[in-house]
């Protein structure tokens, strides 16, 4: 399969269609899930899809070192190319990985203003025309309303899409809410919200669309394949 076919047949096209064209430039998408359900894999698959389309991606993490995230990109790309028999996989890999940067902030210093300053430096001084910025494991719990507003302004100014992920550790074991508590105060700034949830009945991890801009969310029939760690059709 050649790259163009791969993009066309990607299950991410279903996500785009279900969200009326995706998150969109200047907008914010959030992926919420409990720890260990596959948030990073889902985001990395979304990012790889953009990279395959020739777009530029910055992946922000809050860890001691960025190696773990880089490994995710390698694994997800290897899975996609193996599964779809991508022609010239090595060459495609080298081409697309040039357009990805992982920016790592030590948790203590990863304040929104610090992250935004780093992102601006990378995009403007570093001449990196980012189309998508992923902020993995953002601390929505401590974030203020204005913080998300700042991110939105930044996305508008730089003409890019923003995806966040949030860990629902503090949600407890009570019945899952469509909108996690931690996101309630930020909901107005969020354009697309997807919950990643494990369904006991079929044992699969489902992508549940909770907010789709101003539209009524529909069932996307997408799951995260726990074997390949790729988004796939139900």
């Amino acid at each position: 399969m050649v790259k163009a076919q791969l993009i066309k047949q990607s299950p991410l096209r279903i996500l785009d269609a279900s969200t009326h064209g995706g998150v969109g430039v200047g907008n914010i998408g959030v992926l919420a899930a409990r720890h260990g359900l596959g948030k990073t894999s889902t985001l990395v698959h979304m990012a790889t899809d953009k990279l395959l389309q020739g777009k530029h991606v910055i992946h922000v993490t809050f860890a001691q070192k960025p190696d773990h995230t880089i490994e995710y990109y390698e694994e997800i790309f290897a899975e996609i190319s193996k599964l779809k028999g991508l022609a010239g996989a090595m060459q495609v890999h080298d081409e697309i990985m040039h357009n990805r940067t992982v920016m790592n902030f030590e948790p203590k210093f990863g304040t929104p203003s610090h992250v935004l300053e780093g992102l601006r430096a990378r995009i403007e001084a570093g001449g990196f025309p980012a189309d998508l910025v992923i902020v993995d494991e953002f601390d929505f719990f401590h974030a203020k309303r204005e913080d998300l507003k700042q991110f939105r302004d930044f996305a508008n100014f730089e003409a890019l899409e923003l995806w966040f992920s949030v860990s629902l550790e503090q949600e407890g074991d009570s019945a899952p809410q469509p909108v996690p508590h931690v996101l309630e105060k930020h909901l107005a700034q969020i354009d697309v919200l997807i919950n990643l949830r494990h369904h006991k009945d079929d044992g699969k991890v489902h992508l549940e669309l909770v907010k789709d801009h101003g539209n009524t969310p529909t069932d996307m029939h997408l799951i995260l394949d726990t074997k390949t760690l790729l988004i796939s059709q139900e």
Partner: protein
């Protein structure tokens, strides 16, 4: 004096540049009584630190070449190899680590784990070297050894456990809390020689208890008796704690972390106690050799004096009395008057003079036992050679030697300099396997090759200072490669009739790209179309052809040459005819195989204060660099990028000026990749012009 092997320690001191390792070494020498006054690296007294024995090192304030020295601390005899910190001199670090049984990893308590610390640590892992960590510069503004210990855990994956804690930090740093002996240790007197061990001050009691508990929790994994006592809340004896730390350190499952300030003379003696107590004796580390008589079968060596000798020459030094060869004795003993065999040259030699080195002073000895490090005088050999007893046919495993990535043409300014330059080059190539030299047959220029701009720069300086060889240097040249990108078939007939017997050879087959080897020859000739005796001639011809591609005159790599057909003539076919046919077949087919140009890509790590982050990103972007990742920890940012070597010339100057001298970078070879089309066109144009100029 015969040193019992269990009382020997062979240690290295490795760190990021400017972490203070030379200062630490200087203090160790002083406290062990080897020197009688302390000189600073960039000191005002102009003497310089003792371990930086080369003039150039003193001037730059960095340690370029390892210097070996032997000291005694209490009842242990310690051989110290001071290792260089810059990646350009990595071969020196690798060579040192090879012969060591343990090491001290020096870290700056302000800058923490830096890119070079990661490289050095990876090298230590490669050679299974157990290490202690010394968090230095606790007296500096911004010192935070607790953060550095976290980085040791997170960035280097060490099970790092404090064994001493600082008493105060920055300008209030005035001693350490010894968690093993439960004492506060102060280093008084002008040079910190007056050690006072006192009860722990009340204000540090809680911190002491917290970190002692963490230490004992970790040590419980290494000693069941200790675990039991600790679980029951009973007092754990010091000897049990020391035994557990030693076990954890030697198995490389634990890194004991010491704190201090070498510059302020604090914490060094406690670290030396740690070297004695926790780092292994030569007998506690397995060493292997290759048996040449049994197809390089691995043989474990025995660290015992009564066994046949096996020793490794790990460093050469050219002093005023001739060549000095540093050896590590792995098995048996090395004695004055003894005869040994150099396994590479198979030549036997007699040991005339045997010495122990203290930086640039020496001491004559008669004997060096198994596990020891000593130096031999007047032995003709190269670095990495194995010396063996006649009964054995062993060589030590070959060292990892990376390929050279940069070259520079050099030209002596006069005849005298020319003679001296030849002597210098002969010496340097023996000392450093990553430094190579040859004469370019086309330009007739002497070319030197190495691992980076600074690497070559230092050798040019050394030629001038040590050998009085003044040379003019050309522009640094990148070691490009050429490669084929497509399969291409060939049939070539080489026919020549000049009276008498002629030349005839016909070969057919194809070339295809391969990523497995630089060059591969496959014989698929069936039915004797090419007689067997001429098959190696085809191989020889192709090998000659790939030495120099026709795009820009650099070697062609990644070629599989397959021969599957041909013809010969009973009289006119010869070795020469077939090798010429192969050479010409390659040249004729090369363009059909869509050749491309490859350039070396360096993995560059830039570190600097966060305020210069934008400048760093920009500078890499301007150099066709790809930023792989960046990490920010508040004060500092570190950027990992892949940048073509050709774009890195002069980067240190640029970086210094854009960051007020506060940012630094290291780089190492990563891979070869295809150059962009625009660069390819320019390179081809330059090559054409050069050729035209040469033909005029």
């Amino acid at each position: 004096m015969k040193v019992p092997v269990e009382k020997m320690r062979n240690i290295g001191i490795s760190a990021h540049i400017d972490s203070g390792k030379t200062t630490l070494t200087e203090r160790i020498l002083f406290y062990c009584g080897r020197i009688h006054a302390i000189h600073e690296v960039k000191g005002k007294d102009g003497v310089g630190a003792t371990m930086d024995s080369m003039e150039l090192e003193r001037e730059r304030g960095i340690t370029i070449q390892s210097a070996a020295t032997s000291v005694q601390w209490n009842d242990k005899f310690i051989n110290i190899i001071d290792t260089p910190g810059h990646v350009d001199f990595t071969i020196e670090v690798e060579r040192s680590l090879r012969v060591l049984d343990g090491a001290i990893l020096v870290l700056c308590s302000v800058a923490g784990v830096q890119s070079q610390s990661i490289t050095v640590d990876r090298q230590m892992k490669r050679y299974d070297v157990p290490r202690l960590a010394f968090i230095n510069k606790c007296d500096r503004t911004g010192a935070n050894p607790f953060r550095v210990r976290e980085q040791l855990k997170e960035k280097l994956g060490h099970n790092a456990v404090f064994v001493t804690l600082p008493i105060g930090l920055e300008d209030k740093f005035n001693g350490v809390i010894d968690l093993v002996n439960s004492q506060a240790v102060y280093f008084e007197g002008e040079d910190g020689t007056d050690i006072k061990r006192l009860p722990i001050p009340a204000e540090y009691q809680a911190q002491y208890e917290e970190y002692r508990t963490i230490m004992l929790d970790e040590l419980s994994n290494f000693n069941d008796d200790l675990m039991e006592l600790h679980m029951e809340g009973k007092e754990v004896p010091v000897n049990l704690i020391k035994a557990a730390i030693r076990k954890g350190t030697i198995s490389r499952e634990l890194t004991a972390v010491f704190t201090g300030s070498a510059y302020k003379n604090k914490g060094v003696q406690v670290l030396l106690d740690g070297v004695n107590d926790y780092l292994p004796a030569p007998t506690e580390k397995a060493n292997w050799a290759l048996d040449q008589s049994k197809n390089e079968e691995r043989v474990q060596l025995e660290c015992a004096d009564d066994k046949p000798t096996v020793a490794l020459a790990f460093k050469l030094d050219d002093g005023q009395y001739g060549q000095l060869t540093y050896v590590r004795v792995y098995q048996g003993e090395v004695k004055k008057g003894q005869e040994l065999r150099n396994m590479r040259t198979q030549k036997r030699f007699k040991i005339g003079r045997l010495i122990k080195m203290h930086s640039n002073h020496m001491e004559d000895i008669d004997y060096a036992g198994a596990g020891d490090i000593a130096a031999l005088f007047g032995i003709e050999c190269a670095s990495g050679d194995t010396f063996c007893d006649d009964k054995l046919d062993l060589t030590m495993t070959s060292m990892f030697v990376p390929a050279a990535v940069i070259s520079l043409s050099i030209e002596p300014v006069d005849k005298k300099s020319g003679d001296n330059m030849a002597k210098a080059l002969n010496r340097f190539t023996k000392e450093d396997p990553t430094f190579r030299t040859f004469v370019d047959p086309e330009s007739n220029q002497t070319i030197i090759q190495g691992m980076g701009e600074l690497h070559l720069e230092v050798y040019v300086e050394r030629m001038k200072r040590e050998y009085k060889a003044e040379v003019k240097t050309g522009m640094p040249q990148v070691a490009y490669r050429e490669a084929i990108s497509e399969k291409a078939e060939f049939t070539y007939v080489h026919k020549k009739q000049t009276g008498g017997s002629g030349q005839y050879a016909k070969i057919g087959g194809y070339f295809e790209p391969t990523t497995e080897n630089d060059y591969e020859f496959v014989n698929m000739v069936k039915g004797g179309a090419i007689p067997n005796e001429f098959i190696p001639s085809c191989d020889k011809g192709f090998k000659e052809a790939v030495k120099k591609g026709t795009l820009i005159g650099f070697p062609v790599v990644g070629v599989r040459a397959v021969v599957n057909d041909g013809a010969s003539h009973a009289v006119d076919s010869s070795d020469m005819a077939f090798s010429t046919a192969a050479l010409m077949a390659f040249r004729e087919t090369y363009q059909k195989a869509k050749p491309i140009i490859l350039e070396p890509i360096m993995k560059v790590a830039v570190e600097g204060p966060t305020e210069f982050q934008g400048n760093i990103f920009g500078s890499i972007n301007q150099r066709r660099g790809v930023i792989v990742s960046s990490t920010e920890d508040g004060q500092f940012c570190s950027v990992i990028a892949e940048v073509p070597l050709s774009e890195m010339f002069g980067y240190s100057t640029v970086l210094r000026s854009m960051s007020q001298g506060k940012a630094e970078f290291t780089m190492e070879f990563e891979k070869y990749v295809k150059v962009p089309e625009s660069v390819s066109i320019q390179l081809k144009k330059d090559y054409e012009e050069k050729r035209k100029a040469q033909n005029k």
